[in-house]
Every structure is written in structure tokens, then in C-alpha cells.
């Protein structure tokens, strides 16, 4: 097979998250600085020091899936399927049987079936049961969401699951982009899903001491880049994009939301939790290089912006290093201030926000910004959405473990 470099269009978008169960309401809430962070409602969090999260509100699985199907779907697979459904619907595509071997799926997840794990271990260790439910393994495995999406749409081409913590979805989309770019597939559903709001997960994260408390006022808990920031907030949900080979999309008259034109990745190879500067710098430069974009072309960065002391200060230095003087002219925002840190889904949810920003000419703000930190002295689009035309944007994902993924998208209309 001759491998040529092909262009790749984003022709479908799907989001299922705390700030909206579809792309339209999700983006509208972001633009209006409405937070999805609330007191945990799935179970009673009163014994925890951190009692807040960005949960999908009023979620009833039987509204979306028949009981027989639900038996085999952990919450993270449900979210993945729901975002994939919207991505497929919004693309208007009908995939012929003979095209399905060229249609694949790559999904990221940081935690896989965390809820199924938690329930199983509770039964084993607390209730002293000696057997676990036989669906435990097919529900918890990290590739469950990928496989379920493949089955729903008959996608028989390249399919993978990626687990690189907070960069999982960034890498998933990047890898799917390259599968099309280098000729191994024509259509890819790509994104991430996670449902880590379990008692065990909250306890685990609590002890890392990076979570914002914000128990009095959950919606204001996550304040990325602000001098008074006090940490990140865990979130759940999914984001999925349909990536399509450019000519394939053109021929069927598809709506092209944006072009995905660059992907960079790197490993810090230095510390398991502390971010570096040079790792992310190399990832951003790699994405720019692939897209043949200059640093000055970039008008918006959807930051990793977790809201921890360390990440936001380091990311600011990274942006200055790559963009030089232009760092002060481009707009940055962390939408995690509203949808929380959606772990292995976050890169997809944030790329969806980035693509919508290009489409609509509106940059969603960093919510809850109060005052400038000398270590974070760039333009973080504080509190108010900004109407402005952006031609090129990047979305950063920098994970625990030092694995970085950067995606570059270009406006097309």
C-alpha cells in the first residue's frame, strides 16, 4: 500500500459531561461560565475531606440503554457510547458495509471501569463474598468503551484503547488522526471516557493532595491560573470526535467542523507526578511542525490548566518558551474550571470546546479567576467569553507520568 500524507477533517462532535449532555449545551454553558462542579450526588461523600466533583447530573442509564445491554456497560463505557452517538449523528454519515474495515475507533481512559472495580472489591473485602460477578472483567477492561463503540457501529478497522492518564484522549485523537493521515483508515471515532467518581478513587486522589476542597461553594472550587487556586476537581464524562479523510468528507458534502492538522507527543522522562517544561515544549513544537504552522499563527490555547499550583505555573512557562513574545498576544483558557478534570476523557472534551471556539468565533473563559499570580502572567481569558476569530488553536494535555499530547486544529469555514 502506498502511504501518503492525507488531510483529516473533524466531521462529528459528541460530548457527554457535567456541563452538558450534548455539544450545544456543553459549549453554551462554557461560554456563560457555568460550572458543572457540585457536591457528589452518586453516593454520600460526607466522610471525605473533598466532597465535590464534576458529575453528569440526573443521569439515568435506562434512559439511554436497554437493561440487557447495560449489564455489560460500566459507566465509562456508557458515557463513551453516548458521546460517540452524538458524534455519529452530528456527522450525518452513513457508512456502507464495504467501508467498515476502513472505519476504526481509538478511545482513551485513565481509569477504565473504576466503578465496577470498586463494587467488586467492596463485595470481596467488605461483604466477604467469595465470587465476583462474571461480567466484572468485560466491564472493567480499558478497551471496553472502544469495543462497545466498534460493536455499535460495526467499525472493523484499526481499534485501540489508550491509557496515558490525563493525556489519554489527547493521544487517542492524535493516534486516530495519524491512522487516517498515513492511510491505514478513512474514518475514525476517537476520544476518551472516564467515570472515576467512586469512593475508592476519591480517597486515592485525596491523599495525593492535589484536589481543591471548595466544599462551601463547589462551582468556584477550580480556579486555574488564579493566584488563589487550590487544586483540581475530578470530573466524569466523555468526548468523541469523528475524524474523516479530507476528500472522503468533501465528496459526501460533510460539514467540516475543523481540520486536525498537527499532533505532538513527548515524555518528560523525569518525574512520575511533577511536570517538566521541556517535555511539553517539545510536544507543542512537534504539533506546530506537523501542521506547518508558525507559533504566531496560534490564536487560542485550550490549556491543560488543572488548577494546581505546579501545573499552571509550569504550563505558563511552557507557553512562553514556545511562543516568545506572541505568548502575551494569544488567548489561553482552562475550561477545566467548569467541566473539571475529566481524566482520560479530558483531552477530547477540551478539543470539542476548542473546535467549537473556532467554529463560533468565541473563546470560552477560564471561570473563577480572581487575581493574577506573578507566576501566571498571560492572558487566560478570565471569567468572560471573548468573541474573536481564531484560525489556529491547540489543546494541551500533560499527564501524570510525564506523557504529553498536543493537538492542533485549524478553522475551515
Amino acid at each position: 500500500m502506498v502511504r501518503s500524507v492525507r488531510r483529516v477533517a473533524i466531521t462529528g462532535l459528541g460530548v457527554f459531561a457535567s456541563t452538558g449532555k450534548d455539544v450545544e449545551s456543553f459549549f453554551s454553558n462554557l461560554v456563560n461560565a457555568r460550572s458543572g462542579i457540585r457536591r457528589i450526588a452518586q453516593w454520600d461523600p460526607s466522610t471525605l475531606s473533598v466532597q465535590i466533583a464534576a458529575e453528569v447530573p440526573d443521569y439515568n442509564p435506562t434512559d439511554y440503554f436497554p437493561l440487557k445491554r447495560l449489564d455489560l456497560l460500566d459507566r465509562f463505557s456508557q458515557f463513551g457510547l453516548l458521546a460517540a452517538r452524538e458524534a455519529m449523528q452530528s456527522s450525518g454519515i452513513e457508512i456502507a458495509e464495504e467501508e467498515k474495515p476502513r472505519f476504526g475507533v481509538v478511545m482513551g481512559s485513565g481509569m477504565g471501569g473504576a466503578g465496577t472495580f470498586d463494587d467488586g472489591y467492596f463485595n470481596l473485602y467488605a461483604k466477604h463474598e467469595t465470587r465476583l460477578h462474571p461480567f466484572t472483567i468485560p466491564k472493567i477492561m480499558h478497551n471496553a468503551a472502544t469495543s462497545q463503540i466498534c460493536m455499535e457501529y460495526g467499525a472493523q478497522g484499526p481499534a485501540l484503547a489508550i491509557a496515558t492518564a490525563c493525556s489519554s484522549a489527547g493521544h487517542a485523537i492524535g493516534e486516530a488522526f495519524h491512522l487516517i493521515r498515513f492511510g491505514m483508515a478513512d474514518l475514525m471515532l476517537a476520544g476518551g471516557s472516564d467515570a472515576p467518581i467512586t469512593y475508592g478513587m476519591l480517597r486515592s486522589w485525596e491523599s495525593v493532595r492535589v484536589l481543591a476542597m471548595g466544599n462551601g461553594d463547589p462551582g468556584r472550587a477550580c480556579r486555574p491560573f488564579s493566584a488563589d487556586r487550590e487544586g483540581m476537581v475530578l470530573g466524569e464524562g466523555a468526548g468523541v470526535l469523528l475524524l474523516e479523510e479530507w476528500e472522503h468528507a468533501r465528496k459526501r458534502g460533510a460539514k467540516i467542523y475543523a481540520e486536525i492538522a498537527g499532533y505532538g507527543m513527548s515524555s518528560d522522562a523525569s518525574h512520575i507526578t511533577q511536570p517538566s517544561i521541556r517535555g511539553p515544549v517539545r510536544a507543542i513544537r512537534m504539533a506546530l511542525e506537523e501542521a506547518e504552522a508558525k507559533p504566531e499563527d496560534v490564536g487560542y490555547i485550550n490549556a491543560h490548566g488543572t488548577g494546581t499550583r505546579l501545573n499552571d505555573a509550569t504550563e505558563t512557562q511552557v507557553v512562553k518558551e514556545v511562543f516568545g513574545d506572541h505568548a502575551r498576544r494569544l488567548a489561553i483558557s482552562s475550561t477545566k474550571s467548569m467541566h473539571g478534570h475529566v481524566m482520560g476523557a479530558t483531552g477530547a472534551v477540551e478539543l470539542a470546546a476548542t473546535v467549537m471556539a473556532l467554529q463560533r468565533g468565541v473563546i470560552p473563559p477560564t471561570a473563577n479567576y480572581t487575581r493574577a499570580d506573578p507566576e501566571c502572567d498571560l492572558d487566560y481569558t478570565p471569567n468572560q467569553a471573548r468573541e474573536t476569530r481564531v484560525d489556529v488553536a491547540i489543546s494541551n494535555s500533560f499527564a501524570f507520568g510525564g506523557l504529553n499530547a498536543v493537538l492542533l486544529v485549524r478553522r475551515t469555514n
Partner: protein
């Protein structure tokens, strides 16, 4: 409730079927029960009857009546060796 009624109730519940679909003479194939459904039903039978069903017997169950027969004999402590010998070479449990 006798064993047969309870088995029918469990299969109906686990497969999310409407009452009356599962009959004593139903085969798993007719009910659309695949290998993974099979292990789920076994799990439910073991939980509800509070017994262990050996894999060697479980593998050969293909119908409601076979399940009822095997369970009855396991519960009553009777000989089940002929159930193990039956249908050798076939395997109804999932492949990893």
C-alpha cells in the same frame, strides 16, 4: 417454589425476558443465550441456590431441562458423572 420454577425465574430475570418466554423445554440457543450469558446465569444459579456448580457440568448445559436436572442432582447429592461425560469436546464458556 420448585427447582424448575426457580431456574425459569432466574433465567428470565438475568436475560431481562418477559414472563412466559422461558419454558421447561427451551434450549439456550432458542433463548439467544450465548457463552457469556451462560456464565452469568450460572453465577446467578450458584448465588440463589447457594451451591457450587462444577465447570465440568456447567460446560454441558444447553437447555433449561438440563439445568434443572443437573441442579436437582447436585442439590440432592446424587451422581453427576454422566453429565460430565456428555457432549465432550464442546465448550460453552467464553474464550479469553
Amino acid at each position: 417454589m420448585n427447582i424448575q420454577d426457580k431456574v425459569i425465574e432466574i433465567i428470565t430475570r438475568e436475560q431481562h425476558l418477559e414472563a412466559g418466554i422461558v419454558k421447561p423445554e427451551s434450549t439456550f440457543a432458542e433463548l439467544g443465550i450465548d457463552s457469556l450469558d451462560g456464565v452469568n446465569i450460572l453465577f446467578a444459579l450458584e448465588q440463589d441456590f447457594k451451591i457450587d456448580i462444577p465447570d465440568s457440568i456447567a460446560q454441558n448445559m444447553r437447555s433449561v431441562s438440563q439445568v434443572v436436572d443437573a441442579l436437582t442432582r447436585v442439590i440432592e447429592g446424587k451422581d453427576v458423572s454422566d453429565l460430565v461425560a456428555m457432549a465432550k469436546g464442546e465448550n460453552s464458556t467464553p474464550a479469553a
